[in-house]
Amino acid sequence: MTASLFQHVQIIDPASNTNMVGECLVEQGRISQLSDQSGSIKAPKDATIINGNGKALIPGLVDMRVQSCHPGAIHKETPLTLARAAARGGITSIVCLPNTNPVLDDPEMLKSQCQMLAGLSEPLKALKVYAYGAATSGLDGESMAELGLLADGGAVGFTNADHSISNSLTMRRVLSYAAMLSQPVIQHAEDPILAANGEMHEGEHSMRLGLRGIPDAVEEIVIARDLSLLRMTGGHYHVAHISTAKGIALIRAAKAEGLKVTCDTAPPYALLNDIAVRDYDSRYRLSPPLRHEDDRLAVLDGLADGTIDAVASDHTPQDRDAKSLPFGLAEVGYSGLETLLALMLSLYHGGTLSLMQVVALISHHPAQILGLNAGQIRLDAPADLTLLDLNKSWQIRGEKFASLSGTTPFEGAPVQGTVLGTWVDGIRIYEAG
């Protein structure tokens, strides 16, 4: 494997709180030298020299919530388009949800999910694919899946994907068993009965639009119950795509109490609110739904004070047919891999978060939550790296996505921050054209 030397780059590493202009040498897929002096690292003979021109070098993004659509829905996304989209987005590790068809409730299915890029050509196959095991068999929400075997098969956590584990007894047992296995339980916190047939956030806009509301209490109820269970079972509880002020307040309190609790959100909940639905545009049909402006502000506060640990793309590809329907009939979700980094950088450019915070939320923290050896620029770490121009602007256009799904609630939005290159284990998987 050839070596690569990154010269004149701004190295940003949240784990060590490093922000320095310097050099980084990659050999054998690992970071072998770091320096804050220009010209101090001697390039090996065969090394590829990358002149960063002062651009930022950050840990490759770790996206902890991705729907791969493979197997079962490759008309929405194929392994190839998924990998291309991730690489363009500066993402070096993805963690897939188990709601494929068939479901990842079997260790062999899970292993095959993690191997789904094996058939691709170099270099894209280098992208790292992890997966959560199904918390319950067939995601039925009732009977515990083979958590131990799934863990042995490489599961990095357990979840019922886009549904809550709503049976309290099942949830208690899953939490308890996962604690024994030292694995996190990832919860989509939404009381399914209270949310029944809901179409958008319940509030003034749902009332005016005549759309059935999903009250913010659906999240609060599930988190509050789960925290009660967690006090009995111990273990690590993680709330996915948290979206309400009430939910965030509970997580904040639980952390203060000393419970092992983490949570993530996704860019729409930090950047959009329920007013976006006003024309029944199905691009804004998401789960959880876009919330009230007060909730959005609470998400920003949670990101700023560390209550929210991570941000995932929540990549949920949908084909046009699934979205070309009246709002209430359209599928939820959007294509998120290619916009995660730029959208999060908008919080840095807008002054809400520091650059270090943004990078930590999308690389170091998710890796830490799931125990992945990723998300850091340090000696001997895997050379999963993203080189980007922090300031170069572009416009989000779904039709230009590498993903098979071009549906985005950010269609037309101007953003700042362009990925120039993505490396996994020192292998360049993306180069800006």
Binding site: E204, S206, M207, L209, G210, S324, L325, G328, L329
Partner: protein, 340 residues
């Protein structure tokens, strides 16, 4: 405050001259489609009501030719008798050709999407599409895929603009004015498109709207629409001039959103006794179809002195004539459309 519409419009003359000849008396709607009341302004609404008022005074067998050559498609994804027949009749009276697209027996039931249906129908070059659909926002979606003008004949729980217009016309013709009236809208507000359209329209025309509903049938934030909210019907009816009842769907009566039919009638069914708390000449309206003994006592429903229910149906045709005409007036010529 009372405005005598009849004298302003000269509606009692036997044959308004502008209806006898070709030039159209109506002005086009500001938008190409009629998707809802929200967003319409008072002059537009008033001109539609004025025009419909003229149509309402025409002899029953009068056949007009204002919409000669215009093709109207009605497509109802939800069952409807009165609204569909009303649109059909209105279009025919105006001289338009009408095609009632059957949904139950068509490919739509076979899983064809709304957009595919729209594209297919669009290829037949209808001028006006009248659609009812069970999803809120469906008519807006349709309007993006067709060249025709779209009239929303009810979309989910969102709006039913022609119902609100016909209600307003009914009130205007009976009372003479709307400004300043106290109007109570009673019943299932949460699931009602009629309620939303009426709240918008009657507020624009200056009425004071109150909503009377059990807590489980009223959407949160309803007061943001500028209405007063009452849960006690007897309290809410005091001082009202118009009591507008809404239909309660059968499936909502049995313990889901309300405990039972008899409890609903006891608390929210309109009886002569409860009506006595309203203003002495208070009038009753209902968009139909009525559940006798649920929203209203049978005896009151048939009281011609107090009930405007039959008049509402009658005004439906006149309103729809005016709406069809206003949209047709704004249409580009067919040969221009074909060039696109």
């Amino acid at each position: 405050m009372s405005v005598d519409i009849t004298s302003v419009m000269g509606m009692n003359t036997s044959q308004p001259p502008y209806l006898a000849s070709d030039p159209m008396g109506a002005s086009a709607l500001p938008n190409k489609h009629l998707l809802g009341i929200e967003g319409l302004n008072r002059p537009t609404i008033t001109s539609l009501l004025d025009r419909a008022n003229q149509f309402a005074d025409l002899p029953a067998r009068e056949q007009l030719s204002h919409l000669k050559g215009i093709t109207v498609f009605t497509i109802f994804f939800e069952n409807s008798t009165r609204t569909r027949v009303s649109f059909d009749l209105a279009a025919r009276k105006m001289g338009a050709s009408v095609v009632n697209v059957p949904v139950a027996t068509s490919s739509i039931k076979k899983g064809e999407s709304l957009i595919d249906t729209a594209v297919t129908l669009n290829a037949m070059h209808p001028d006006i599409l009248v659609m009812r659909h069970h999803n809120s926002g469906a008519s807006l979606l349709l309007s993006k895929y067709v060249n025709a003008a779209v009239i929303n004949a009810g979309d989910g729980r969102h709006e039913h603009p022609t119902q609100a217009l016909l209600d307003a016309l009914t009130i205007r013709r009976r009372v003479g004015y709307i400004e300043g009236l106290n109007i109570a809208i009673c019943g299932d507000i949460a699931n009602s498109r009629v309620a939303r359209s009426n709240i918008h329209l009657l507020s624009i025309l200056g009425a004071n709207i109150r909503v009377i509903s059990p807590t489980t049938l009223v959407p949160t934030h309803i007061t943001e629409m500028g209405v007063e909210l009452y849960h006690d019907m007897e309290e809410g009816l005091q001082g009202t001039d118009i009591v507008m009842l809404l239909r309660l769907q059968q499936e909502r009566m049995q313990g889901a959103e309300t405990p039972s039919q008899r409890e609903y009638f006891r608390r929210y069914g309109l009886t002569r006794e409860k009506l006595s708390l309203a203003n002495p000449k208070a009038l009753i309206m209902h968009p139909g179809p009525m559940n006798r003994g649920v929203e209203i006592s049978s005896e009151l429903a048939d009281d011609v002195e107090r009930s405007l229910i039959t008049a509402q149906v009658e005004m439906g045709v006149a309103i729809r004539m005016a709406c069809l005409e206003a949209l047709a007036f704004g249409l580009t010529k067919p040969d221009q459309r074909n060039m696109k």
